[in-house]
Amino acid sequence: MSQSFDDISAQLKRRHRQSTHLKWVSMGALGLAGLFLVLFFADMLVKGLPAFQQAQIQVQVDYSEQARQLPLAALNEEVRPLVSRGYLRLIPRRIQENPQLLGTTRMEWVLADSQVDQYLKGHHSKLKPGEQSVVERLQAQGRAELKFNTTFFTNGDSKMPELAGIASAAMGTLLTLVVTLAIAFPIGVMTAVYLEEFAADNRLTQAIEININNLAAIPSILFGLLGLAIFINFFGVPRSSPLVGGLTLALMTLPVIIIATRTALRSVPESIRHAAFGVGCSRWQVVRDHVLPLALPGIMTGSIIGMAQAMGETAPLIIVGMVAFIPDVTNSFTEAATVLPAQIFTWAGEPDRAFVEKTSGGILVLLAVLITLNATAVVLRKKFERRW
């Protein structure tokens, strides 16, 4: 006796119910992940966006002979505590560079102290009540405003929050990544090409493969120790320099690039290799003319993602001394430098309340660069992907 449709439907009900449940659970998980992402971005934006604005106040600056010796004298007593000490410090030099300033009095927009900045942004501030009323009066007169913070993008680190910027860290990151790319990319790609296209499949190459996969899973701080032991202590590469940081990150990125390249090479159809061997290509010609061009989008994508990973890495760089206070923007591979995540780490440890927004602002900049890098990876892959 065969079953009727009704019998079968009755059995199916439970199975359908199960799959509906599973669907809702999966969608819930996805929703939760999305929610966390939105929360994270919202928190970063709320905390970080104020960092791109900085308070400035309009004050009367008196370029007198006295101000040349004692910069504070250039300002009205009332606004003295409100102006950034970083600005005051520059007054004698400005007079020296522009002697015609001497003896004049001008109204100027100057960088305010970070406490004024925090006060205007509605955060907790250490301004005394008298100072607060001065700020409020200036604000009412339109002489105290939040303006776009160019300092944040042009300055290096500073102990004065209003002068602290990410330029030196960004430069350090750039130099470090140049070193990493220059070392990890060619070595990684050639290693993968050798293992995938030339080496025989024997115990030795299998052991190498396992070890490369393991290297990719090693905690990055160990690469820092390796970098410290080999590059700094043995080869004497300058400590804290983009060179040693780049070399250390190259060690870390190598397995990522090797694995990505091998996957890309493996995805090239075997028939293409056969065709090339069939017309009399040598092994190297097969790789150079046929396999590598087809694998290139995959190789580039993997490498860019590896570089993005290296860029966000802090732990190994702490070990090789790249978490340093770098006020000047360097462009040397051998001088002390810091990188974006290390700068964020440093700011996060500052006691001053004004550094909280710098920290979030730095994270926003890092995120923007990372998203740009990943988008580049996608675009490159689309562009070079041959659809034939």
Binding site: D201, S271, H274, F277, V279, C281, D289, W388
Partner: protein
Amino acid sequence: MSGHERSRHASSRPEPGQPVTRNTDANHELSIRVRDLNLWYGQSQALKNVNIDIYQKNVTALIGPSGCGKSTFLRCLNRMNDLIPNVRVEGLVEMDGRDVNAPKMDEVALRRRVGMVFQKPNPFPKSIYDNVVYAPRMHDLVSRKAEQDELVEKALRDAGLWEEVKDKLQEPGTSLSGGQQQRLCIARAIAVQPDVILMDEPTSALDPISTATIEDLMDKLKQQFTIITVTHNMQQAARVADYTAFFHLGEIIEYNDTKTMFANPAVKKTEDYITGRYG
């Protein structure tokens, strides 16, 4: 066929590897001589004492059931088996007086003279023009642009593809239909003017019309080249081949000119296979 006739054929065999009867209209100059060829994949033997003489400017078909070693044998002729790990080859494959498997023989030089067309059309992911011109340029056969253009046109004409693609030479080879792609692969193979062209089931992925085109093409190409083709299709062997070798379990059971082989197979196994009793 009676047992008497069979023994007469067997005793008239002067040397192993030659067909029992000779197709008298065909060319009898030797192209490839194979003696006592054995091949192992690891422990399992895929070819057993294969002896065969391949004649120039003929089509020789290799037929037999799946896994009988005919493709393996084909790949011995241009040493494509080198690419497979754990392959061991013993015996003689002689071409132009030289042992193909000798250590001094460069497989790149061998493949320059022994071209190959594969089962699945596999044009390079390049333009039609570059597909044809790539190998000749690599082997320094042509350098000037005019020479290249001439060679591309000649190869495509010989492959019967020129009229269809002459206006779109810069389009990717993979944009063509399956049959056109296979003719492009043939054009690519003949562009370096090889002596021998190996075809490994060249029509098994194609529709009947494309198959007929390729078969006509093989008939034309044998004026210039020695063609060895593997086929699953007995009618195809009967249509295009001058000589046919029947492989079974790694051995050549029978090798003869096609007409005799199909009309009068000398061995019972061959007869069973070609009449469709197994395989």
